[in-house]
Symmetry: C2
Amino acid sequence: MSFSRNTRQRDAVRQAFEQSDRPLSPEEVLSLASEFAPGLGIATVYRNLKGLLAEDWLAPVALVGDAPRYERSGKHHHHHFHCSRCDKVYELEGCPEGINRLVPRGFKVEAHHLVLNGTCRSCVRP
Amino acid sequence: MSFSRNTRQRDAVRQAFEQSDRPLSPEEVLSLASEFAPGLGIATVYRNLKGLLAEDWLAPVALVGDAPRYERSGKHHHHHFHCSRCDKVYELEGCPEGINRLVPRGFKVEAHHLVLNGTCRSCVRP
DNA sequence: ATCTCTGCAAATGTTTTGCATCAGC
DNA sequence: GCTGATGCAAAACATTTGCAGAGAT
């Protein structure tokens, strides 16, 4: 095992996520974290994303037809809403019942991811 | 509007999906469809995937930490299980209750996607 | 005969890696 | 001072596009 050093850049990436209430793409992380660590490079963003995913500080969010986003893990359990008009991703509270009923015998479930697609409030009434 | 011609290659791509009971990646499509259309190029696969998505013959499946897959749309409503050991994607019957309860007021839901992650039966007992 | 589709190769866009240097510890 | 982390540039992938020629209608 190796330790991770606490660099200015890694802190900046973490801050980007702490300050944001929605999942971020690598480019968004670069632009947000650059304020705290000027000169930050995209390669460093990717390296830190990978590291923070490995230590489970971040979790990936998969979206249909769009690049993956990342968000702080360890929050309370929640799901997502992906607006097809503005592409924003919102967090949803709660979790539907009966997910375990879908699991075939012999399969072992460790996690689940639910994404609702549609139009968000801002886009419905502009 | 323009019409799509019925080429050997397009048929081959469609056949790949008809013969498969699970979502496919572009590379998998290339290798399966090549049997019906020798010499098939990856660019043609991508062009046909795009076309078949546009005419709603195919639907994309987003996976956490893995490239997107595609499957025939128009099947009965179902969800997916993604095995983190062998990376296969299975179809699940049924749909959990109460998804609409998660939707904030003013949001309009058009679709939802649920993916369970874990270990499939073949990988649990090898 | 027309005009779309194909294969190839080049172009793009995204993510990863090699390497010299920098900076935490 | 040691060693992991960074920035840059190049490399590796994945996907898209331009173009000349093949093939569907």
